[in-house]
Symmetry: C2
Subunit: 212 residues, 2 copies
């Protein structure tokens, strides 16, 4: 599958490497591709402009800082986005970790700004290492999906499986409105990370024991 | 230990029953104790006024709706609160699940309103059944603590152990500022509850496998 990753940071690079390894045709989109292409950490990646990344991808992935995401995604031609799956990984926090849009989520904001794409929010509850190496955890963790379009979620589920998230670890929360829950988890994520001294952890939903 | 639970809802009753069973001397505080005392679901509980519950408790527990909590707690005489541990279980959401105070938490708000009490936020990430029966889950889940006072957190850890949360399941997140993470988790909680069709679940922090 052709994947256009928008962003060239930790998350974009981790996902780019993971999906390339799984056999996908991945490009990374930057606002300054000539400059970014020279960066050491981007050796081995195909770095193009944001618009080109959007045109390349059958699936477009937002891996840009949440506060900038809508602006950056507007650099993609509307015709190159229409009908596509847009996987949104960003979290809409300001630099001091205040919620920039407290009773809303970035996922909802992107869906509202680009009504013709089919937004799926996922991978917002783990860091870039765990995103692409869930097997590095002590046991299975849960990864969440939010989106209004079931076919788009099915495509995204396949891409999660390619990163090592088995179907049993994927939990579909429902419509894009549920992206708020994934994004607000960032606050608990930061607390846990400080408490255990590592960003590399997941959370697992532990259901009630079946009645015997 | 003498525990003054403020509230007479599901959470107050579950905790009251759990701590009574563990041998503590528990009263439940209501703004209308005469009326509430007659309610079927409160049979077997000692229901007193809010001020009396505050006076009774060596530990005072806030189990009232988040939007009302500060007002209700003001009914306790300042002298009856000073220096005490106040365990805060509430979540500050409005009825439509918007965050009433998005870049703040109820725990912080209570600590700011009552600077002489030692607030510990905990149990905000599970429902009342799981709070008092963590062993009903398929496997261990994590319960979080936030608070500025270490001795108050140690007392609270003992009370959590009395409810069935072993020390290994308790994670101290740090100061009361980290209560925001516990409270905002309510949004993901609601998404998961709808997805799995049950409020009765916990989440477990799954760390990275130790390097071999």
């Amino acid at each position: 599958m052709r994947i256009g990753l928008v962003g060239t940071g930790h998350v974009a690079r981790a996902l780019g490497a993971g999906w390339s390894k799984a056999g996908h045709d991945v490009v990374l989109g930057s606002r300054s591709p000539e400059e970014r292409r020279e960066a050491d950490e981007l050796k081995g990646f195909t770095v193009v402009g944001v618009g080109e990344a959007g045109a390349h991808g059958e699936v477009v992935v937002n891996a840009t800082p949440g506060t900038a995401s809508v602006d950056v995604l507007r650099e993609i031609d509307a015709a190159d986005l229409a009908g596509k799956v847009l996987v949104d990984i960003g979290v809409g926090f300001t630099e001091n970790m205040d919620l920039s849009d407290p009773n809303y989520s970035l996922g909802e904001k992107i869906q509202a700004a680009f009504p013709e794409v089919r937004v799926v929010k996922t991978l917002a509850t783990v860091d870039s290492v765990v995103m692409t190496a869930p097997e590095s955890l002590e046991g299975p963790a849960t990864i969440f999906l939010s989106g209004d379009d079931d076919a788009a979620k099915a495509t995204t589920k396949g891409l999660l499986a390619d990163l090592g998230w088995p179907d049993a670890s994927q939990l579909d929360l429902g419509g894009i409105g549920t992206a708020r829950g994934q994004e607000h988890f960032a606050l608990l994520f930061m607390g846990v990370a400080r408490a255990i001294g590592s960003y590399e952890f997941g959370i697992r939903v532990v259901p009630q024991r079946a009645a015997s």
